[in-house]
């Protein structure tokens, strides 16, 4: 069995990380390839030196040291569960994507200050390269030979690409009805790509069973048995946003919610920067964004519940189509604790928002980006978001991966003969 055969390693392999800790009951475990608490099934997460009650307040790294680091996530390696020499090993070196000041969109929405954190600039064009890079290091440390995952699409491509670069085998699992560009991206890097006849939640269930079977022996499932490490990669979004704003946490941020992992780790990243004195301690609000066709967390938020009832997804935002979001309860906690909210938008609003972002700022986001921008607009309209406050919205993937969403309205303004008269008649006089 994968869990039994992998060796527990020393904390040196994991930088400042010291243990795995259950988010529910606090039980601690050695750093190993495990993800659920034996006591209560709660998710395990990485605990660091600075989580200790004895922590003396000294940050393990300074702003200047970070700024002198590479233009990728390894500039934050002192804050991540990775070895010191992580930057010299073959990996995709993701991150340090653009934080774009989007004044045209801000004007259109009536906001004073708005930035888009555009993670389509990562090596496989989604934020997943961040989380996979951390999981890859853990896979190496634990001696796994195969990198695997259950995926709604973006993760599959990030895993096969990272495995190719690192020289590991890859075997990834996706719902068989995924968007064609994501299937192409996941298969072009080699490895095995397996389509499962079912929803993402069924793919996830399959992988959970495979992990306890000899068939999955010595496999690192980035979002299952390596999940505690993998999830930490999303903290780098928070670090980068704060550094790119001039070492300042934004007043409010809108984040897409699929499993909810990314949102919880952005919050963890902001809290760490504050605890370590790398940014000023100030309040911030975190808003979650879902598609109406898969909105179990938004529904629970609006109903005032702290339990997330699973749903069967039906939305064009397939990268967010997780009907049984494992971190949903934590998203609710964070939205309520910070004074944010969780909201959802229809498929039509998602398409409108993709086009709005493209038309106003030249950024072509995938459907998940349409969800965040659409929810941003809705939050402003509802008065839930302060238009005078500094706001950041995430675009987590490239629109080229979800062309189907906007292709129905994509056509030439006119098709004409190559003559000035034809141009004048068909285009100039018609606009």
């Amino acid at each position: 069995m994968a869990l039994a055969t992998a060796e527990i390693t020393t904390s040196n392999d994991f930088g400042p990380a010291v243990a795995l800790s259950c988010r529910e009951c606090g039980t601690r475990y050695d750093l190993g390839p495990t993800f659920a608490c034996i006591e209560c099934f709660g998710p395990l997460e990485v605990a660091y030196t600075w989580n200790s009650p004895d922590f003396d307040g000294t940050a393990p790294v300074t702003r200047e040291q970070i700024a002198a680091g590479p233009a990728n996530i390894w500039r934050y390696r002192a804050l991540l569960p990775v070895p010191v020499d992580v930057g010299v090993k073959p990996n995709l070196a993701p991150g340090w994507t653009k934080l774009v000041k989007v004044d045209n969109l801000a004007r259109e929405l009536g906001l004073r200050s708005l930035h888009v954190k555009d993670d389509s600039g990562n090596p496989t064009h989604s934020f997943k390269d961040r989380v996979v890079a951390i999981a890859l290091e853990a896979a190496r440390t634990f001696g796994f030979h195969t990198l695997s995952c259950s995926s709604t699409g973006n993760l599959a491509g990030a895993v096969t690409a990272a495995a190719a670069r690192a020289g590991l085998d890859a075997c990834v699992f996706i719902p068989a009805d995924l968007e064609q560009p994501k299937i192409v991206m996941a298969s072009v890097y080699g490895g095995r790509l397996v389509g499962i006849q079912g929803t993402y939640d069924e793919v996830n269930r399959f992988c959970s069973e495979l992990i306890g079977d000899p068939l999955g022996d010595r496999w690192g499932f980035v979002n299952v048995n390596l999940r505690p490490y993998y999830a930490e990669g999303s903290k780098t979004l928070a670090y980068e946003i704060a550094e790119q704003l001039g070492w300042r946490v934004p007043d409010q941020i809108v984040i897409p919610v699929a499993s909810g992992s990314q949102l919880t780790k952005v919050d963890k990243g902001f809290k760490e920067l504050i605890r370590l004195g790398l940014v000023e301690d100030k309040p911030y609000k975190i808003f979650g964004a879902q598609a109406e066709g898969c909105s179990p967390v938004s529904a629970a938020y609006k109903a005032g519940r702290d339990v997330v009832q699973p749903v069967k997804p039906d939305t064009i935002a397939k990268s967010l189509a997780i009907g049984n979001p494992a971190d949903g309860p934590y998203v609710l906690d964070i939205a309520r604790r910070t004074g944010g909210a969780v909201e959802d938008v229809t498929d039509a609003e998602i398409v409108d928002a993709i086009r709005l972002l493209a038309r106003t700022e030249g950024i072509f986001g995938e459907t998940a980006g349409g969800v965040t921008v659409g929810v941003l607009r809705k939050l402003v309209d509802k008065g839930l978001l302060d238009p005078a406050a500094e706001t950041v919205v995430l675009n987590t993937g490239d629109g080229l991966k979800t062309l189907d969403a906007v292709s129905a309205e994509a056509r030439p303004t006119a098709v004409i003969r190559p003559s000035l008269d034809a141009f004048r008649t068909a285009v100039v006089e018609n606009s």
Binding site: E24, G42, N204, N223
Partner: protein, 91 residues
Amino acid sequence: MSVSVRIPTILRTYTDGAAEVKGEGATLRDVLQKLDADFPGIGARILDETGNLRRFVNVYVGEEDVRFIDGLDTVTPDGVQVSVIPAVAGG
């Protein structure tokens, strides 16, 4: 009704390492009660203090997540497979 129960890795210390064990009961509640009688202590890992399924455990009867049907009252037909799986994040 005789059913098979798939045990996740983290609970196999209760089943001597067995990934699958025999179970019995007309509903999921009965099956879990019998499971706890056969492997003392395992029930409290799956159910919380109030007797409900823990927040981060998913249980399937056949292909269906029981939260979509009748929860612990879900009927367990003869020969069906019951799977206990920790919740994991995606995607």
